[in-house]
Amino acid sequence: MNVVAKTETGRALGDAFAVARDRLPGKGKIADQRRQAFEAYERSGLPHRRIEDWKYTDLRALMREVLPLAPAPDAAALGRAAAAVKLRAIDGVRRLVLVDGAFAPDLSDLGNLEKGLGIRPLREVLDAGDGALSARAFATDISNPMVALNGAMATDGVVIEIADGTVLAQPLHIVHVASGTAPASMFTRSLLRLGRDTNVTLVESYLAGEGAKAYQAHDGLIVAIGDNARLDHVRLVEDAIDAFNISSATISLGAHAHLNTFGLTSGGHVSRYQLTVTCAGEGSKVETNGVNLINGTQHADTTLFMDHAVPHCASREIFRAVVDDRAHSVFQGRIIVRPDAQKTDAKMMTRALLLSDDAEADNKPELEIFADDVTCGHGATTGALDESLLFYMRARGLPEKEAQALLIQAFVGEAIESIASDALREVAIATAQRWLEARA
């Protein structure tokens, strides 16, 4: 549709792919799929505002170019990564660390795997030529240019398999760390498969090692939740303030499965999180919640696609954005109810709080309904902090910033409260707290 004259940077990336192609893991069919994905990306190039889905996040203007692949981390980079990981360590989790796009076994906890839990680096899976797993890793929709690019370039990731009936006591924590000192791109892709009757908690963090700057994290996550299984997912984006984070997650649910996912973005210069959730089995239930806490010139975009493909499923989305200074928050949420997905119950609520006159919040909550016996609703509000509440607190002696902080906490609280695990909820609250303290 869009015939784009190739830019200099576009050509540079093409050359980079040609050079990197032979070093990327996976041969034969995988190499073909990578080439197809790269061609799909090349046809459109970096998405821009004339493409409806990217209306508010024009990567051509914001990102301009895709940086070349980061080199594999050396000992110094791993050392800086270890320090960053330690600073944001979460107690009681099994940590899996990716540094500069490569799995770092020395920083990861691979010992004493619980029964039914399998973890392998993606590179190893691809090199071993595991056909079925590899096929799943590349079975993504390449019509989205950034998903296509991720597929073409992915160097590593983790592949996690949970056998039927396994209940993991220990949450899994995938940590993405950028540690190289020269600006570069990291392309990672991870797979998570939950068997029937399983129960898993997954945390994802995006961090920067000391000295890492202006890097680009391109991540992909593919999740399949089996029948009667439950996944709790918490995602924390605390990238460096001049970094880019373009991530896509595709999650499908089997019958009577349950997904509770929460995302908090406070870091990164430009971030875009594309989440596609498909209710593929009857009776499944989805809670998707998110918070953006941004200031300065940050740009944070959450684009959610909730696909009700079968009857009797329920979904709830709660999204909150707090936008200060000249920051720009974007929420695009689309609920689709397919023709036979009767008795669907879907609700989406997005609210934005603008703290400055230069801040911008764009909300696009969409409903696309093809079945008649459903209950669907969405709401969107945008506004400033309530003056009368601020006055009430200031009259009682609270300084302005503190009064604002209280109101902001309450505002984002509704989304954060949805996190099921007490410990992880505390982690999210602490992250929000850090943002508020930095602001004061």
Binding site: A359, N363, K364, P365, E368, D372, G379, A384
Partner: protein
Amino acid sequence: MPAVQETVERVRRIDVDQYRYGFETQIESDKAPKGLSEDTVRFISAKKNEPAWMLEWRLEAYRRWLTMTEPTWARVDYPKIDYQDIYYYAAPKPKKTLSSIDEIDPEILKTYEKLGIPLREVAILEGVEPPPGGPPSANRKIAVDAVFDSVSVATTFQKELKAAGVIFMPISEAIREHPELVQKYLGTVVPTSDNYFATLNSAVFSDGSFVYVPPGVRCPMELSTYFRINERNTGQFERTLIIADKGSYVSYLEGCTAPQRDENQLHAAVVELVTLDDAEIKYSTVQNWYPGNSEGKGGIYNFVTKRGDCRGKNSKISWTQVETGSAITWKYPSCILRGDNSSGEFYSIAISNGFQQVDSGTKMIHLGKNTSSRIISKGIAAGKSQNTYRGLVSAHRKATGARNYTACDSLLIGDKCGAHTVPYVEAKNSSATFEHEATTSKISEDVLFYCIQRGLSQEEAVGLVVNGFVKDVLQQLPMEFAVEAQKLISISLEGSVG
């Protein structure tokens, strides 16, 4: 559910024979050669005896149009339009200058009769006073501009309006008689380069209404335009320009119908409204173009650009629309809230049946301080239709204190249709307060049961619920149209739940 299936069947059956305006008037007409070129533009301009500046304006638009591509972002699907296979101008052959109602071509008179407007209203329509002592409603005056294909065939009450200082005439006459006003405002709300269809319209528009209400004048009667497409293979490109000068008020109604044909006909209109300080325009539409048959064959492509500019402080523009016709509707009546304290309103009911596709909504663009807007949209989808609400609310950096409230609800009747909501909420000012809510549901079984248990028939119960559902919008319509609209709604939904 068998009941729902039955509903679908019934709605489909109703579709075919319920379109009451599908007849054709046999009348000789004067047409431009088929196709579009600079010559077509020159032909239309010459037919209208236009001054040179107008022709230049059209040609500029035409050249611009050649460089543009048809938009594809709307949720509508139709085969490619062959712009060379359309007559851009068709006018009934004039017999002689008219001095009374009897001299208007009897075929045209018959057309208005058949359109379901009672004779008395025809008399009003054609400018004949009702007899003294008649029912009071007969004395209620509505000035009408009747546009038949590409020309205005009659404009009533011109004298009386003139006495009040109001100018109401076909735009083709206004270009000749009030060039200073037309030049000052035409294309200032919808620029010639605005979008593909607006640019096409700028090049080939043939007629439409022009209204100017001078400062401080409250227009003494409702103004109305009735659009009729009659000729085969023609497109209708009307252009309406309404200016409410400082402190004035006008209420304007518009109605549209077309014959039943297998071919798709293009209707690409542009409506521009301008309100200066403290002025108000209320613009109402009952759109009932031919929607196509039960197989989705034929029907009007209604690709319309309607925009109001609240240029002055404290000014107000309100759009009310009842949309039941057209095979495809693509229109977003919008308000640019430029003046401080100005306000915009949009009330809409869009009912789709058969294979109709509707992608309609509004844009409220807040530029001035303390501007406010309200959007109430009700979409009802039945049959195999697709009904999309698409709306933009945006607050500019300087729009301190902007407020918007949006409620858009959709009702689905049957499981083969679709109802969609695509709102864009953009805030660039922290003091902007925007609220948006949308729901989608089917008629609640409980509510129906309650009504039926109290002795209402199924149809009456559905009618009651649907009328309650759309009440907010109907209340905004002027009396005459509210009655018409209610009739339309009962037709579209009669027996819809079996």
